[in-house]
Symmetry: C2
Subunit: 337 residues, 2 copies
């Protein structure tokens, strides 16, 4: 493993052995319908609270990933999971039944990429033979925690995004060259720095996160000496329509045009007719899109070399009330097949 300007190059290319995704009803009504492994039409997922429903969703995504790879929980050495709930309880309650050594992560909506990077480091170093990484969000848990009680039905500004009800999980392990089946591999990564442009509007998280995405993508392209055209697609996490346009502008300031290669998971997951305003958001947004459309697209050789850049807004309801800015972060993973 070499390192250059914060870029991690994985020599053994840790492999995404299997993956699973679970989403809710609204996500299933969107354009990516056919790619998801499981759709849950009941927002309570058979539980008595939305928080338990989110845990159940994350747990199910992990179970699907394990089953598809024919793994048992005992085959997994470390689980890296996270979510948006206070004290990351969706993840810890979800993972308490597996008995897998557990490392909790917090990266807001960047968590899935952070989990992939920590997994790849642990696998390449030999600390783990296999890891699982997963992330989730739920519209009903996030909205009432971050904004207003669901019953308010408060007006949403055009810049706001819709928290995705969904979860994604990947099993990461050493690439097996003897295997006939090619699996997507984590080739390199860039751990993000915290970037703060003093955006303080919690209803415009795309604007808060775009500078972090620009910083991470720019540093990665610089240190790997690659350019946008070397990649089939650059998928950002959940910048939404407004954040995506800001990202283009920030990259153009550095004379890099990413618009032709760029897709945003928050824009992809819903149709414009679904009234989600600027797009989807939440840890489960890019986690469920990665573990459905993107990775299935790679296995079907539609994509061969992509950048997955998950973005996170590191605010809390308390910091919003205290009128603080929204520090943001973006972690990048280069996945190849």
């Amino acid at each position: 493993m070499k390192k250059n300007n914060g870029t991690i190059l994985f020599e053994s290319s840790p492999s995404i052995c299997s993956f699973g995704s679970v989403v809710g009803k609204k996500e299933a009504q969107g354009p990516l319908y056919e790619y998801f492994d499981k759709i849950v039409y009941d927002s309570y997922f058979g539980q008595d609270t939305f928080e338990k429903a989110e845990s159940e969703m994350l747990k199910t995504a992990v179970e699907i990933a394990l089953e598809k790879g024919e793994f048992l929980p005992k085959d997994i050495d470390i689980a890296f999971c996270g979510d948006l709930l206070n004290q990351c309880v969706a993840s810890s309650f979800a993972m308490s039944s597996f008995g897998i050594p557990y490392a909790g992560l917090y990266g807001a909506c960047s968590t899935m990429a952070l989990g992939l990077i920590m997994s790849a480091i642990a696998v390449e170093s030999g600390a783990a033979n296999k890891t699982v990484c997963a992330a989730s969000s739920h519209f009903c848990t996030a909205e009432r925690q971050y904004r207003t009680p669901l019953e308010y039905g408060s007006q949403r500004p055009p810049t706001s995004q819709w928290t995705v009800t969904g979860a994604g999980a990947c099993v990461i392990g050493k690439a097996h060259n003897e295997s006939q089946i090619q699996t997507p591999a984590i080739s390199s990564a860039q751990i993000g720095r915290i970037v703060d442009y003093n955006i303080a509007d919690q209803n415009n998280m795309g604007a808060a996160m775009a500078p972090a995405a620009a910083d991470t993508i720019y540093r990665f392209l610089e240190s790997t000496n690659t350019n946008v055209n070397d990649y089939d697609s650059i998928f950002t996490g959940d910048l939404g329509r407004i954040g995506s346009r800001l990202l283009f502008d920030l990259m153009l300031e550095k004379e890099i045009d990413i618009s032709a290669k760029h897709k945003d998971c928050g824009v992809m997951i819903y149709d414009e007719s679904q009234d989600v305003h600027a797009g989807g958001s939440g840890c489960g947004c890019c986690a469920s899109v990665l573990c459905s459309h993107i990775l299935k697209g790679m296995c079907n050789h539609i994509y061969h070399n992509i950048l997955f850049v998950a973005t996170g807004a590191l605010l809390s309801p308390t910091t919003v009330l205290q009128k603080r800015s929204i520090p943001s972060i973006a972690h990048l993973v280069n996945i190849r097949i």
Copy 2:
């Protein structure tokens, strides 16, 4: 790096190059007074909110660790930090000024040990030359978030613990054999599993966490084929007086008596006369005790081979209101000099 039953053996023994601790007034009135690097008598730390004060404390601990090791932020490849606040905002605001690639962790009061383990994995694998790991807590931010407004002055039951106002930070790097100065090294580690004995009393976290500590210590001793007498001390994070007694009982069920070697950071940090009931708690408890008494004790050759077992209760105020149990975790780090 070998691996056996979830135990990670570090072949290169990543080294704790430097460390720093910051605590508040009450902690400075306790028996460990002389070991802390900085004492802050103003609970606001010159800021206008307790949350900003906690960030400032964590930032200061990181600065002290960097200064003592003569490192600059640019020398550090990854920062692993966490705290108890919703969305871990103490850490993300603290770290936003350094420009260090940032990986947020959530392990409740086990965070410092999780940070050490992730640091050791990253350093041994070559993904980082140097990392920093840090954790913090603040009585005034934690009490009002987890329990009741500070102004209530509500009665505390005898099982309750007092959240430590403190932070600790370590710089981890490759051990330099050519150096004259010996530094404590991370020899091996055990990532904890989530253990849930259905304790639901948020005022008795020692009871919730003791089974996790017992599980982790037992698995580590088993897989390393070592026994309690091989270690100078076994420091648990913040089980307090009640949790420590429960840990002894749970270990005795497995015919292991740890009582002669055991110390608990939550018991050590306050004097019984300080009216903290069962002892100290919070991410900052074992982080500040590690980065003062324990590591200074190792550098002064009072301790040579210790187990640092930080415990975390993975509850949230929401899960408490929903009458759920408290899943817990304990991460173990074997440090030698």
